[in-house]
Every structure is written in C-alpha cells, then in structure tokens.
Symmetry: C2
Subunit: 186 residues, 2 copies
Amino acid sequence: MRTVTERSDAVLAVATAFRRFGYEGASISAITEQTGLGKGSLYNFFPGGKEDMATAVLDEVGAWFQAEVYEPLLHEGTASARITAMFDAVEAYFTSRQLVCLFGAFALGQERTRFGEPIQQYFAAWIDALRTALHDGGAGREADDAATDMVSGIQGALVLARALDDISLFHGALDRMRARALTLLD
Amino acid sequence: MRTVTERSDAVLAVATAFRRFGYEGASISAITEQTGLGKGSLYNFFPGGKEDMATAVLDEVGAWFQAEVYEPLLHEGTASARITAMFDAVEAYFTSRQLVCLFGAFALGQERTRFGEPIQQYFAAWIDALRTALHDGGAGREADDAATDMVSGIQGALVLARALDDISLFHGALDRMRARALTLLD
DNA sequence: GACACTTTGTACCTATCGGTACATGATGTA
DNA sequence: TACATCATGTACCGATAGGTACAAAGTGTC
C-alpha cells in the first residue's frame, strides 16, 4: 500500500532529519530513511533539492517563532508575563527537538553563506521583540544588551547542554535568565 | 619543486579547513585545496583519514586551551588577573579564527557521536578551571553557576556574532562578562 | 465512474566521495 | 656520498552523492 503525504508534513519530517544529521551530513538517502519518504516524493515537494528542503524548513521554523514567540512578546499581557511565556515556549520547543536550533547550527558552518539572510532575520527579529518587551517593562537602557545577552545565552546553553549531554544545564541556564529578566523589570 | 611539510603544520592547516567547511562539508578535495597538501601527504600524516584528521585537530586545540587558558586560570597571579587573562586569550583566539569553536560546532551536529569524549573533556576542564579561579577570588556559592554561564555565554556569543555577521557582538558580550566576573570577586 | 491532478517507487545518470597503491623526490645522518 | 626514512604527486578504485525521468497508484470533483 502506498501512503500519501502532504507537503507540510514532509517539511516537519525533513526538519527532523536536518536536526539529526546537519545540513551537509543529511544525504538524500539519509533523509529518505529518516522521513520514510522516497526520492520521488522529496523531489516532488522540493523541486530544488536539498537547498529547497532547507529553505522550506527554515521558513517553517521562522514562521513558528514569529507566531509563538515574537508576536506574543510584542502584544499580549504584562511585560513580565510575555517574557516568562517566551522562555517557557522556547524551553519546550528545544527540549522536544534534541536541543538543536537549526538557525544556530547553520550559523556555525558554511551553511551561513547559503542561508545568511533567513538566519540574520531570525535572530534580529527575536532580539528586537525581546528588547521591546524589556523596554515596555521599564528595563530602560539595559534592555538592549539584555536582549542580545538572553538570545545569545539561549544559544550558548544549547551548545553546552549538547556538548556535556546534560539537559539540566539547559533548564538551569534558562531559569537564571528568567530570574535576571524579572529583576530588570519592576 | 616539492615543498615539504611537517605534521604539526598540517594539523593547523586542516583545522582551518574544518573551521571553514565543517566536518561533513570538508571533503578531502576541499581540504586538499584549502591546505595545499595533496592526498599523499594527508594520508601519510593521517592514516585514519578524515576522522584521524579531526581527532588530531581536536587534540591540538585542546592542548592549546589546556596550556594557554586552563593552566593559567589555576595558577598564575590574582584571581581577577587570571580571569581577565582568560577572556583576553579567548577573545584573541576566536577573533583570529573566524569565530568558530570546533568543539562547539561539533557539539551541535552528529559529529557529537564520534567525538563526544574530547568535546566533553574540553568543556568540563574549562568550566572546572574557571570555577576554581572564581572560587579562589571569593565568589562563593555563585562560582558554580557563573562558570557555566560564562563558558556557555562565550559559545552563544560566537553563534550570535556569526549569525548576524557582526564581530562587535562578540566583543561586547565578552566585555560584559568580564565586568560581571569582577563584580563577583572582591 | 470518468478525468485531471498529485503523490510515489524505481531505474538510471554523472560527478564526486573517501580511500589505496606506489613510484618519485626530498631530507637527515653516518 | 650512500642509505634509510619520510613526504609528495598521480593514477586508480568501488561506493555513494545529488539529481532526473517516468510509469503506476491515489485522490478529489463533477
């Protein structure tokens, strides 16, 4: 029997493959095995091949962050509630995805050349939204540095937690950042 | 004319190739072009092939950090001088190496499986040495978290500075960490 | 149930992958 | 200067890379 898939499901499956193998390490046959999709399906959904797949994956992840992280940071509730919600969302997101941020991982390799624009956009939008929330909460001049430090701190925590294979390092680092954010407000 | 190289020079050249292309992205022919060494030389110096090259590179970098960062953190001068020296050394090191920490980059990809042990060793030794210096300087119970936060913070700053292609983000982040370290001492 | 359209598996292509073999050239030591 | 040792370039290998072509099978619409 032949199972039929839609593109949006394929994107999610391919994202998992990239998280596991990296961009260069994800050969088409590795993607095939990981996702259960044959070459026919992959090249049907992504006519541009591997680069097309990666673009679609980055788009999907970027859209998710836009809707679930950046937008809420700008609009809903008090500043401290918005910032707490950001940490909660991000913690749950990466915890369920092997502690891999594809944008961060791509930034460290030569993939940065190919996908520089979406990578830049992802981090710039994140820092911008967080800075706004911090500013709204009365963080004043510190908002700028604090926003970059927190986004950077999350990336560093992902690296270290993976390196030492200890997820509690990730949770601990986020807890301390949450606490620091709250002291900046009030 | 034939130019003759020694292994230690080859290791440094190969390291540059891995920084530029990543482990999976560094094909033998790419390494050949980047380093100027032919296959004959490469497989003479590194009989085990690519994995052998990476092991040698990680060994070299690990030894450099041991001698230039961890040891000084444990021995020479006052705690604040030792910690300042660490930040200076690390800042100069990564600035002159395209803002790539090979251990961090490998930790984010599937290379982690292959090189898990040296990766773990690198970060554990770093955190340990820094914690000791902070403790010596009177940081008390905070020394533990501060040490992991700083090592993690450096990794995050590398990611973010590369992602936004803005080296000043790296310098700025390190300046703030230096300042924070000093407030923990005294 | 006919028909257009999308999804899927398979066979096949060329280029490049990592790696080996080995003759030739350079180097240091006696 | 003879000789052992180490470094180097080149030719070659099978396996796999990413990608194409296309016929068969599913799916939605009327």
